[in-house]
Structures are given as structure tokens and as C-alpha cells.
């Protein structure tokens, strides 16, 4: 009211000195506060600007590395090292990376041996110009940078990219499958640290020059991983073919006033850059190497790991009356080997149907267990190793008390807990026999019925994962089942893995690949051997048919017109068995990876060597796309090379 009265009065009364001073003081205080706030805002602005610029630069640098990694190896094909964890001429380090590619897909084999500075013959269409950077490689892989110092169409002269008095580090000649490839090399590395500890991240494209991507880097790290995401040692990165991804981590300090470092990280999966074409014909995958004949009612083949001998379990001519026997033979005949095939008769064993060796490393190691068929009661027998550790006529044979569990046994196998498991067809169940610590001297405990099954269980084997797998039939429909063991080695309720295309007959594990093989009778009454790979066991792939009895028989008649060409069985047996067999009863592997299939009706066992891919006749093929200008369709360039040279 007082102020208004003064204004109202026309200002005649004025302000007192005190009032003016007070107003001035308040104004100064307010101005000081405003100035201070403005100072804060300015500092925040400056800091945020630095942060934004630095973060953007760091993100863009990371993006640049990601992009270059997505191109790595393009046009090079398999063999040359495309990802090299070091800079030129330095030791391997986590802080540097060299990436190689061949974006123009120029390549040629070397026609003559390479000497530094001398002309070497190449494919005239390759088109290497003077000054071009190239990569030299040979069948051993790796790679060495070089530069074209002279080019004359069908020949070029090369000089090492990294100058050295000794010339090229490697040897490059046509005999070694040497190739010369176009090269784009990109290097990432950190510059020397400045006073504040920050470093420049530099990208150096060879032939173009270096440029700084970002300046505030504290550390840069590259980690290399395989397809299982397991880390790969830095020294192995250049040489491994398992490199599947690269993880990049970038720590930086954004701006001068930054309080804390920031980190950006990303993982880049590497793309496939080439293909392989195998020239081996795989459709004749099973080579017959021996015929065992006559073997009365063969039931299976087994061999102990480390032994040179395998054995065939056979019944007599009349299984329920004649004693069973083990036909032993050397798996791989050696030069000057004097060993002869032998037969060990098992006087107390009748009608054997399945066999397995005791688990290695335990008290039952070396013992062979045989399950014998019975309509209601079956028997389990143990053939203990002799004093020399093998099975012979001196081996002690013990037949345990008959039990319903063994009646019509589909298969027997030892589990991860060293107990013997029996798949009983008669009882439709899985039984377990436990053995005490005394091993050979002790009979097993009473069988325990673990799981009841609806269906007819068959052959039982231990997979490489330590779980038991067995066959099951429901009428004519077969399937594979799995009985897993938990951490305490307790067996778990069996679960169905997948269906098989027909009646399941036999099951075995290939000791070389670790894959399971099943023998099935398909709906056309053909007997087919199927490879049950890891994809099948995980329910993601179909079983792979590898062998058809019908096709094999037809092929055999085509190829072997003279039956004397066929290898045959036991010395002194003059008659050649007929291979016109219609059915097969079992499939087994020996410890060398040879496959055996037996036919009870024909009294023979066939031994096959599996055509495992040798990798000797593989040709590599790489391709890339080159754009030829706006509006023109891109063209494919490709090159091929023999992957192994002999």
C-alpha cells in the first residue's frame, strides 16, 4: 500500500537510500545466483557435448569394426587366415586386429615356383595390376601379404608386403597348391597413450592409409570364440577352422570431465565364405571285406577296446541243444601275423542272443556277458578273461541261475553305474543286475525290474553321452528310446527319442564317429542300416539311410561277376556262400570301426569297411559378387582349388 501510495503520488516522495541499497543488494544476490546457474548449465552443456561426440564416435567405430568383420574372408575361401589377431609384423594381442578379404574375387593358382622379385606364372584372366596387394597361400593355409611389382598378363612379379631380407616367409610352388588372391587388408589398432591415458583407435586400410576413428579409447579388446561359444586362444586364431564369432569390447572416457569410463561391446558371427565339393562317390559306402561262413546262428560281434581280436557269438546248428561258441579272429591281419581263427565252446550256454563286454576300468573289465534265450527262463553267463587277459579256451565260464528277466532278452548293456541292464521282451520291461565290488568272483544280485514298457524292447547300447538307448517295436513300427542317467547315476524313466522307418531289428554304436546305427526292416521288406546322428537324437533330423541290403546285393552282382573275387571265410571251407540273402538279424561294430551284419538263416556274417570320407578329394569353391556400375546386373566371380595336395 505504501509503494502504491508513492507511485500514486507521482513519485514526488522518491526512495530512501536504504531502500535503494536494499534493492541493489537483492538484485546482486539474484544476479550472482543466476550467473552461478548459468555456469553450471554451461559446464553441463560442454560435458554433454563431449559425451555425445565421444559416444557417437565410439559407437560409429564399433559399427565400422562390425561391418568390416561381416565382410571378412569374402572371396578368399577356406585356407587363408582372414582374421589375424595382430597388426602387421607384431605379436598376437587382444588389442589389434587385421581383417582380410578379396572383394573383387581375383585369384589364380601359381604356375611356377615363387621367388621374390622374379616373374611367376599365373592365370592370365586373373587381372592383377601393378601395385595391387595380394595374399599368397598354399594347401597348408595361413597367408602372406605381397605386392605386385610387375604385371604382364600371364605372369607377375611379387614382393613381400612386410619387407624382409629373407624374402617370403613361406614356400609357394604349384606342388604345394600355391594360390595368389586379391587382398584387401584392414587393420585396427590403438595409438600410443596420451598423458591422460587415452588412446586413438586407428583404422588402417592397406593401400589407402590410416585414419582415426575415435580418440578417447581406454582399451580395445577382441575375443575369439568357436561355434560352441568357447574361447579360442589368440595363438590359434590364425590357424583354427573353428572360429565362429568375434566379440569386440571398447572402453572409452567420454569428454574431458567424464567421471566414469563407458563400455560398448558386441559380438559378430562370421559368415560362411566358401563351399566344399567332395569328389568321392559315397553311394558305395560299405565295402565288403570278409565273409564269415559257416557260422551257425550268429547272434552278434564284439571286441574289447585295445584288443586285436574280435569274436562272433554263435549257437550250434540246433540252438536249444547244441552248445554255443565264440568264433575269434584277428580284426586286421598284420604282415607275418601267425594268428589263426579259433572257436571257444561254451558248453553250458544254449541259444545265446546278446553279448556285451564288462565296463573297462572296473572289476568286470575283460569279462564277456552273454544272455541266452529261454521261453520263460533265460540265463546270463559270464566268460572271464584268462591269465593273459584275453578270452580263450582257458577262460572260466559261469552261468548264473536262470531268471525270468533274461527270458527272450532283446539286448543287454552296461550302464553308467556299471550295472547290467536287460531289455526283456517277454516281460516288457527293463531289468537291472547289480554286481558287487568283487567283480569276477561274485554272482550278480537278483534282477530288479526298473521300468515297465508297452511294446517289445530290443537291442540296448550305451551312447557316447553315457545314456542307454534301446529299440522298441509296436507291431511293425520301430522307434528309438533313451534311458538317461541323472547326476547320481540313477536311471530315469525311458523316453521315446524318435520313430524309425520300419521294424527295428538291431542297434550298435560306431566307435569311430560315436553315432548309433540301427538296422530296420522297412515296409518293402528291405533291410536298411540307418545312421542315427546327433541331430536325430535331438529330434531335429531324419535318420540317414546308409545301406540297403537289396541295393547292395544288386550292386554286388553287377560289380563282382566272378564269385571268386569275393573274399571268403574260414580256411579250408571250399564252398563259396551264397550272398543271395533275404534278411539280416544283427548289426555290430568292432573296436576298429568295422561293421558286421549277420544272417542266421544263411549261417554267415559279413564284415564291411565303412567308406568314411577321406577328405583327400575335396575341392574348395569360393565366390563373390562384383557390381559393375549403376543399372548393370552384378556378376559372380568364383575360384576353386584343390584342398589337399599329394
Amino acid at each position: 500500500m505504501a509503494v502504491r501510495s508513492r507511485f500514486a503520488g507521482g513519485g514526488a516522495q522518491g526512495f530512501s537510500l536504504l531502500e535503494v541499497l536494499l534493492a541493489l543488494a537483492i538484485t546482486l544476490v539474484v544476479m550472482a545466483l543466476v550467473a552461478q546457474t548459468m555456469g553450471h548449465v554451461a559446464r553441463i552443456y560442454e560435458t554433454q557435448s563431449d559425451l555425445a561426440v565421444s559416444s557417437s564416435a565410439a559407437a560409429l567405430a564399433l559399427d565400422d569394426i562390425t561391418y568390416e568383420l561381416s565382410l571378412v574372408g569374402q572371396g578368399l575361401g577356406e585356407g587363408p587366415s582372414a582374421v589375424v589377431p595382430r597388426s602387421a609384423g607384431s605379436e598376437v594381442t587382444r588389442e589389434a586386429l587385421t581383417l582380410r578379404s578379396n572383394p573383387d574375387v581375383t585369384a589364380s593358382p601359381l604356375r611356377t615356383e615363387l621367388e621374390a622379385g622374379e616373374d611367376v606364372g599365373i592365370d592370365p584372366s586373373a587381372g592383377f595390376d601393378k601395385g595391387a596387394h595380394v595374399l599368397l597361400t598354399n594347401w597348408m593355409g595361413g597367408g602372406e601379404g605381397a605386392v605386385v611389382v610387375r604385371s604382364a598378363g600371364s605372369s607377375v612379379a611379387l614382393s613381400p608386403l612386410v619387407e624382409s631380407e629373407a624374402g617370403f616367409r613361406g614356400s609357394y610352388s604349384p606342388n604345394l597348391g600355391a594360390r595368389v588372391l586379391g587382398l584387401r587388408e584392414v587393420r585396427y589398432f590403438l595409438g600410443e597413450p596420451r598423458a591422460d591415458g587415452r588412446r586413438d583407435l586407428v583404422k588402417d586400410v592397406v593401400g589407402v592409409g590410416p585414419r582415426v576413428l575415435t580418440r578417447d579409447v581406454l582399451s580395445l579388446g577382441f575375443e575369439y570364440r568357436d561355434s560352441e561359444r568357447e574361447p579360442i586362444s589368440l595363438t590359434q586364431v590364425e590357424f583354427t577352422r573353428d572360429l565362429a564369432s568375434v566379440r569386440v569390447m571398447l572402453r572409452f572416457l567420454p569428454g574431458d570431465g567424464a567421471l566414469a569410463a563407458r563400455q560398448l561391446a558386441t559380438t559378430i558371427a562370421l559368415e560362411p565364405r566358401s563351399g566344399n565339393v567332395d569328389f568321392e562317390r559315397q553311394d558305395l559306402g560299405f565295402r565288403l571285406s570278409r565273409v564269415f561262413y559257416p557260422i551257425d546262428n550268429p547272434a552278434g560281434v564284439a571286441s574289447r577296446i585295445g584288443s586285436r581280436f574280435a569274436l562272433i557269438l554263435a549257437s550250434g546248428k540246433t540252438p536249444s541243444q547244441d552248445p554255443a561258441y565264440l568264433y575269434t579272429f584277428e580284426m586286421e591281419k598284420r604282415f607275418l601275423s601267425a594268428s589263426v581263427d579259433d572257436a571257444i565252446f561254451l558248453e553250458d550256454v544254449r541259444a545265446p542272443v546278446s553279448l556285451t563286454f564288462g565296463p573297462e576300468g572296473g572289476p568286470l573289465a575283460g569279462s564277456l556277458f552273454v544272455a541266452a534265450w529261454g521261453l520263460r527262463i533265460g540265463h546270463l553267463s559270464r566268460i572271464a578273461p584268462d591269465q593273459a587277459g584275453g578270452l580263450s579256451r582257458e577262460s572260466e565260464v559261469t552261468t548264473f541261475e536262470g531268471t525270468e528277466a533274461i527270458a527272450q532278452a532283446g539286448g543287454i548293456a552296461f550302464g553308467a553305474d556299471d550295472a547290467l541292464y536287460v531289455a526283456s521282451q517277454e516281460r516288457g520291461a527293463i531289468f537291472r543286475f547289480r554286481f558287487g565290488p568283487k567283480g569276477q568272483k561274485e554272482k550278480p544280485g537278483n534282477p530288479e525290474r526298473l521300468f515297465r514298457l508297452t511294446g517289445t524292447p530290443g537291442a540296448l547300447v550305451e551312447g557316447t553321452d553315457g545314456h542307454l538307448y534301446f529299440l522298441m517295436n509296436h507291431g511293425e513300427r520301430g522307434s528309438l528310446w533313451k534311458m538317461a542317467f541323472d547326476e547320481t547315476l540313477s536311471p530315469q524313466e525311458p523316453v521315446r527319442v524318435s520313430a524309425l522307418p520300419g521294424l527295428a531289428v538291431s542297434l550298435a554304436r560306431d566307435p569311430v564317429s560315436g553315432d548309433l546305427f540301427a538296422l530296420v526292416r522297412d515296409p518293402t521288406a528291405d533291410f536298411v542300416a540307418l545312421e542315427l546322428g546327433r541331430g536325430f537324437l535331438k529330434g531335429r533330423a531324419e535318420p540317414r539311410p546308409l545301406f540297403s541290403l537289396r541295393q547292395w546285393r544288386e550292386g554286388l552282382l553287377d560289380v563282382k561277376t566272378d564269385p571268386r573275387d569275393l573274399p571268403f571265410a574260414i580256411q579250408g571251407v571250399p564252398a563259396l556262400p551264397s550272398l543271395e540273402i533275404e534278411e539280416l538279424d544283427f548289426l555290430s561294430f568292432d573296436s576298429f570301426g568295422s561293421l558286421y551284419m549277420g544272417c542266421r538263416k544263411a549261417s554267415l556274417v559279413l564284415k564291411f569297411e565303412l567308406d568314411r570320407p577321406s577328405g583327400r578329394y575335396v575341392v574348395g569353391l569360393a565366390a563373390g559378387v562384383v557390381e559393375r556400375g549403376e543399372g548393370l546386373s552384378p556378376s559372380i566371380r568364383m575360384h576353386a582349388w584343390k584342398k589337399r595336395i599329394f
Binding site: Y45, A59, L71, P103, V105, P272, V277, M638
Partner: protein, 180 residues
């Protein structure tokens, strides 16, 4: 209504004060805003570019699946296009073309054109261990061109893939080229 009683020289003082405040505060505000917008734009571009690249890879897998099945059946020098399955907010074009078949020789030579047609593809040999080895293998070559774009202000991502169909019908990726 209450009558305003102001000195004549004090009229408009508030306006001046506001103007001064605006003049002083506007530049830093504009700078900060532009910085924030630029940063945001970069982030969005970065995100969109990643989305484009991932979409291009997905479309490539679709093309590969069609080639490995019976979805695309082409003769040499023929091409076709197809509409990829739903990729939200992205425009994409796919062209699959089959190039001239090539023939690989056992010694690692690549035969193209006339040289490729004059060899006996059934010629085989047998090595010392009885392995049957082909002398030549024919390979079908397919080029997959993928163009994915999100908006006009962002350059499209181009992905070229070269696929080989081997004699056993399996497909192998021989190379991938990206263009930003």
C-alpha cells in the same frame, strides 16, 4: 477493474526482461536441442540399419530354404522374384537368378562356358584303396540379390549371396557381400 498506475518509463519493462531472457537462453537451448536431436537421429539410424541388415539376412535364409526345397525351380540364366514373409515396416526386394552351371575338375580347376559342357560328368577313377572318385562335378550357381529399405532418408542395405547346389542336392553358401 483496477486501474494500472505505472511510471511512463517503466512501461514494457516486463517485456524487455522476457526478451532479454529469451535472447540469452535461446542459443544454448537451440544448441542443446540440436545436439540431442542429432544424437537421437544417429541412434535411430543405427538401430534401423541394424534392423535392415538383420532383415536382409532373414530374407536370404528364406531364399535359401526355397532353393533347397522345391519353391524355386530355375534353368540356367533364368531369374525370379518373390515376396518375402512379413518383415515389419521394411520394404524388401528379392531376386534369385541362376547363373551358368560350372564344372569343377578333380585337380581344382574351374571350368565355365564351353569347357564345362565338353566333359564327361560320369567319368570316375579308383584309387589304391578302392575309393571311387569322380573326375568332374557339376555345380549349379545361384545369385540372391536382396534390397531392404526402411525410409527414404536412410540408404538401403543390399545383400548379395552366392549359393551352390551340389550334385547331391545340398546347398552351400559360397559368399555373402553386403553394401550399405
Amino acid at each position: 477493474m483496477e486501474k494500472k498506475n505505472l511510471l511512463s518509463r517503466e512501461e514494457g519493462a516486463a517485456l524487455v526482461t522476457v526478451l532479454v531472457a529469451i535472447i540469452v537462453l535461446l542459443p544454448p537451448t537451440i544448441l542443446l536441442a540440436s545436439l540431442a536431436l542429432r544424437w537421437q537421429r544417429q541412434s535411430i539410424d543405427f538401430r534401423d540399419r541394424i534392423a535392415q541388415e538383420l532383415a536382409a539376412e532373414g530374407v536370404f535364409e528364406q531364399a535359401r530354404a526355397r532353393l533347397s526345397g522345391s519353391g524355386i525351380d530355375l534353368a540356367p540364366n533364368e531369374g525370379t522374384t518373390f515376396v518375402p514373409r512379413d518383415i515389419d515396416g521394411l520394404d524388401s526386394g528379392v531376386r534369385v537368378s541362376r547363373a551358368e552351371d560350372v564344372v569343377l575338375a578333380l585337380d581344382g580347376r574351374l571350368l565355365e562356358g564351353l569347357a564345362a559342357t565338353s566333359v564327361d560328368l560320369n567319368a570316375t577313377g579308383t584309387d589304391a584303396e578302392g575309393r571311387v572318385v569322380y573326375q568332374f562335378r557339376k555345380v549349379e550357381i545361384y545369385l540372391v540379390e536382396i534390397d531392404v529399405s526402411r525410409r527414404a532418408s536412410l540408404p538401403p542395405v543390399k545383400l548379395y549371396g552366392v549359393l551352390a547346389k551340389l550334385p547331391d542336392g545340398s546347398l552351400q553358401t559360397l559368399g555373402l557381400t553386403r553394401r550399405r
